[in-house]
Structures are given as C-alpha cells and as structure tokens.
Symmetry: C2
C-alpha cells in the first residue's frame, strides 16, 4: 500500500486524516479535517475522490458532526447527525457510495437514539471505521474475482483512478490488477491521463509505479489508437453509480472507451462494490451527473490554456449503457452482460 488514503485519527474527539490528492504526484501532503465543513470542501474539491473513498470520508464527516454537536440528549444528537448527513450529501451528486454511507450512518445514529450522546458518538465512529474496514476486504474480494479475467501477459487499459487512492487502500479496477500481479501474472497497463483533472496521469501512474507495475501514460484521445494497434487485451474501470439495469456512471470518457472497446472486440469490465449500485434508479438516464467548473478545463495546469470567456461543457461523468459492458465485477462475483434481471439475481445471492 503506497499511502493511507483516509483514516480516522484518535478517539471520538479525533479527526479525519486524508492525503490531499490534488497535490499528487508532486507533493505528498496530508490534511486533517476537524469539522464537517472542511471535509465537505475536501470532497467537493477532490482532495479525496473515488466513490468508495468518498463514502468513507463522508461517514467520518458524520462523526465530526456528532463531535461538534452541543446536543445534551441522544435524540438531539441524532437530529444534528441527520442534518450533518444531509449537508455532506450535497458535496457531490453522482457517487452512490456517498449516499449509501450516509444512510448507514443515519441508521446507526437512529438505532442508538435512546443512548447517551457520547455512546452514540462511539457507535458512529465504530460504524465509520467498519465501513472503512469492510472496504479493504471488499476491494480484495473484487480483486480476486476480477483477476480470473486477466491472463498472464495481458495489457489493461484504465481510465481515471479506481485504485488505492479511490478506496480505503487497494482499489476496485486497480485492485483487480494488483490481485493478478500478486498471483504472479505479468500485467501491463495503459493509463488514460483523464482530463480535466488528470487523475490517471497524477494518481494511477503514481500508484502503479509504486507497486512496480508496468504503466504507460497516454492522452485520453489515444485510447482508440492503442486498441486499433492491438495493444490492449481488456479495459477495466471503476464506477461512481450503477443503475438497476447495469447502466454505469463513471468518469467522463468511459462511455467512449466502451464504444471503442466494442469496435475492437476488447472486453470492457467495470469493477465496483455492491454499495456503488443504486437499485432505486432504473436506468442511467436517471443518474444525476455533476457539472464541474469550466475553469478546470481552461486553466487547470497553472496557466490559462483557452481564451477568457470561452464557453465550456464539463460534465464530470458519463453513463455507459449496460449493453456495452462485458461484465461487472463485484465482491460477490461477476455479473456477465449486466441486465436488470442479472443484477437483481446477483443481489439476491449476495444477500443470502
């Protein structure tokens, strides 16, 4: 593990420690979030990003909210916690894990509403740490399940960062690569740089190089070419939200990769925990897509790279229809050619 992406430091009076991912790879700096507002800003500005990591961060943000609450009764604290969860839910709109984790924290609070505020705080910290610990385990199971799909000598193309930095410490899409690597398979990776915020260039290459995995950085627009040149055996990406029918929201550009994969007969895999599925959303059309500031495109590199006043269109995510996806890899197994029925059955089995 290169670094700890996120952790709770101390007891209920502690704080959240995050690696500031906006500074990587040039600088490895940790920040401490001591109140929900700082944590909200850290999520909003992508100091912590990646659907599972956002979920963990938000859960810990609720612990900070409970810590700051002046409530003298359990019911009062629960009410403050609910308000804090509502607030944290506004940090980013797309990642399902954010809402899933906040719901877990709300539930944990409500279940302890009869207790003393300090006991509830302990319960909430335990729940947040459980979410983090579960994520470690889930990612390793996703990795093992997905590694079956990687053959010795394969080259994987990936987009954005679905690695250690997007989760507690192992990754979803990159977790699959790590697991194959740990099994002794030789794996090479093409990493899309992933404009505008360059998570692929800054984070994915950094992680893979730290683990000694062969990685080549390309511009996003070069992905089609490397497929045409037969340099890619499979595509592996993470997900921010998966609808009941398998439509998958992930970093903008993922949809194009899926179409290009189809054109070149390259399998296209999504790796994500069950907590990334939103079964209340029937299809991708109903997944809310975050719009980011145009400044991220026009002056993201420390210097202006487009005329002042230029119009931009900057959605953070796009939706890949389930029918373009060869399989979704979860901690429970593999959903081949995802459909509403297949996903529903997968959940039924997982919940047995």
């Amino acid at each position: 593990m290169p670094v700890r992406t996120i952790e709770w430091v101390g007891e209920t009076d502690g704080c959240v420690r995050l690696i500031d991912q906006t500074l990587l790879p040039v600088e490895t700096r940790f920040i401490e979030c001591k109140d929900p507002g700082t944590l909200w800003e850290a999520i909003k500005s992508l100091r912590v990003r990646g659907a599972p990591a956002i979920g963990i961060a938000a859960a810990m943000g609720v612990v900070l909210g409970a810590q700051k609450s002046q409530a003298e009764t359990g019911a009062g604290l629960v009410s403050d916690v609910e308000r804090c969860a509502d607030y944290l839910a506004t940090a980013r709109p797309t990642a399902a894990n954010l809402f899933w984790a906040l719901d877990r924290m709300r539930r944990a609070a409500r279940e302890s509403a009869e207790k003393h505020p300090e006991e509830i705080r302990h319960r909430l910290l335990a729940e947040a740490n459980t979410i983090l610990e579960e994520d470690r385990d889930i990612c390793r199971r996703i990795g093992r399940n997905g590694a079956e799909l990687i053959h010795d000598g394969d080259t994987v193309l990936t987009h954005c960062n679905a690695g250690s930095l997007a989760t507690a410490d192992y990754g979803t899409a990159l977790g699959v690569i790590y697991a194959a690597h740990e099994q002794g398979k030789r794996v090479s990776v093409f990493a899309d740089e992933t404009r505008p915020l360059l998570q692929g260039a800054r984070l994915t290459t950094w992680e893979l190089m730290q683990r000694g995995i062969d990685v080549t950085l390309i511009c996003d627009n070069t992905a089609g070419l490397v497929m045409k040149e037969d340099k890619v055996n499979l595509i592996l990406v993470g997900a921010d939200r998966i609808a009941a029918n398998g439509d998958t929201a992930n970093k903008v550009g993922t949809y194009s990769l899926a179409v290009l994969a189809g054109e070149h007969d390259v399998p296209f895999y999504v790796a994500a925990p069950l907590s990334t599925f939103d079964l209340d959303v029937d299809c991708g059309h109903n997944i809310p897509i975050e719009q980011r500031s145009g400044e991220e495109i026009t002056c993201g590199f420390g210097r202006r790279t487009a005329p002042k006043g230029v119009k931009t269109y900057s959605p953070a995510f796009d939706v890949t229809p389930g029918y373009h996806i060869t399989a979704i890899i979860t901690e429970h197994g593999i959903i081949a050619r995802p459909t509403t029925k297949g996903i529903s059955e997968h959940f039924a089995e997982a919940n047995k």
Copy 2:
C-alpha cells in the same frame, strides 16, 4: 481574418514572419525567421503548424536558404537549395504538404538553374508567395464545397485546429464553417481541446470567437458523450496526409472520433486540399507517424502533472481508415465514401 498566420516580409533579402502559435491565446506575438534553422525550429516546435501552413512555411524557408547561399552560379545555388529543402523536410515527418511544397520549390529552382543566382532567388520567392496565394483560394473553395453539407442550425464537432492558423488565412475544416456562416447559416461548434498541445482549446476557440461563431470547448474524452446526447450534427476535421485509398492521418484522437461518429450515425467529414493527398502511399499503414516527446504530456503547461520517469506513448497523429469517412472535401469537390478508385477519378477530373 483574425491575424496573418504567415507571410514573407520584404524582397529576396526579407524574412518570414509568423505568429507564434505556442503562445496563443494568452499572447499574440510574431516572430521573424531570418534563416532556415530558425524556421526549422518553428515548424518542429509547432510555432507554425497545420499541414497547409507548414507547407507555406517550408517553401519560404527555402527562400531563406537561397538568400544565405554563397553560390556564385545558378547550379551552385540550386544545389544549396536542394540541401536546404532536404533539411527542412526533416522538421516533421507526417504532413504531406511539407514534402509537396518542398518539391515545388526544388522544381522551381531546377527549372531556373541556368539563370543568375539573384534571378533564381526572385523565382523562388515568387513560387513561395504563389503557394501562399493559392492556399487562400483553395481554402475558400474547400469552404464553399463543404458548406453544402452544413444546414442552418447545425452543430459541428471539430478536433485540433484546421482553421486560419493552420493555413494561409481561412482554414480547411474551419473554412467550411466560415463559408456556411458567411452564407447566413447559423452554425455552432464543439471544439475538442486536443491534448497534449491543446490546439483546440488555444487556437480553434480563439479563431471562432474572433469571428463571432458560437463555440463550446470540451475535453477530448467528452466527444462521445456529446454525440450520444444528440448534440452534434456532423464532424469536420482537417488532415495531415491522405493515402491513395482515403486513409487519413490527422491529429491523434481523430480515429476515435470517426468510430464514435459511426456508432452515433453522425457524418464524419475530412476537409483538405489536394496537396495533402500522397498518392504514392497506398494506404494509411505506410504513413509515417511522428512520435512526440513525453514531456508534452507530463509537463506541458508550466507544471508537472505525472510522476517523473513515467513511460508515455505520444504519437502526434493517428490514421482513420477511409471506410470510416463519410466524405473528403477538397477544392475540387466532394469525394463521398473515399476509395482508391474514387480518389483517382477525383484527381483525374481536377487535373483536366
């Protein structure tokens, strides 16, 4: 016309004046190239770029070579000119117009080999200026021919810069848009930013905004999404070299756009002068593709955006097979669904 991309200033003892396109849109600075070495560097480092503009610049570079020659005979000067042309041909390997223009200059020199060196210099300057003047005319004819394909209210997606800045002053792909605009058609444009050197973000948006044409900047990885969202009526790009069978080398990312256009039933048009065709090359497989420095990806904009030592793959161009192209627009007309036969017939008609 926003600016003069390139011009010869003065008589045979003059120099080449270029707008330094690496500084746009932040700074509008002109440079004067007074010897072939400076001009070679300007082409190599993309201060002047775009296949037609590279051809014009190289032709003028040959005039600089003739100016510097100490030869006292016509034959001696022609020999120096040939050496200078060979040298300028090494600046960049893909754009057909570079070699086409240098061949014209060599021919002009040889045809005047019997004359006095100063007469040959005048002949070469006249030839270079003719290439520039012809380009103005050719681009307007391409524009008129292509404008037939644009309907009132259409939105065009374009990649890189095939505009005023890539030619003498009007453009190929953007020339088509300018012509439609001049005919009173309402046209909107999505401009891919075009990593790594951001010609779309820096140059295409700048040109279009100066001409009052509605333009929206997107990251390259967002092109598939805007097509999926039915926001694009057609794609228009330029070309760096077109093989005898219609396979087209253009800025890396063009191939992916063509595949995505096919998926979404969006017509995909290439606009280029006949001088961009290389009929000696049977298919795209035999077009040499320039590899650029990885630094253009990892620290192109004043700050490092990837780990030191990361491997990169940075081809400047890719090849779109002719069968992905709806039509090629030239100064002579439109080659629908280009094939070796169709292109050969188009040239036969054009040369009548």
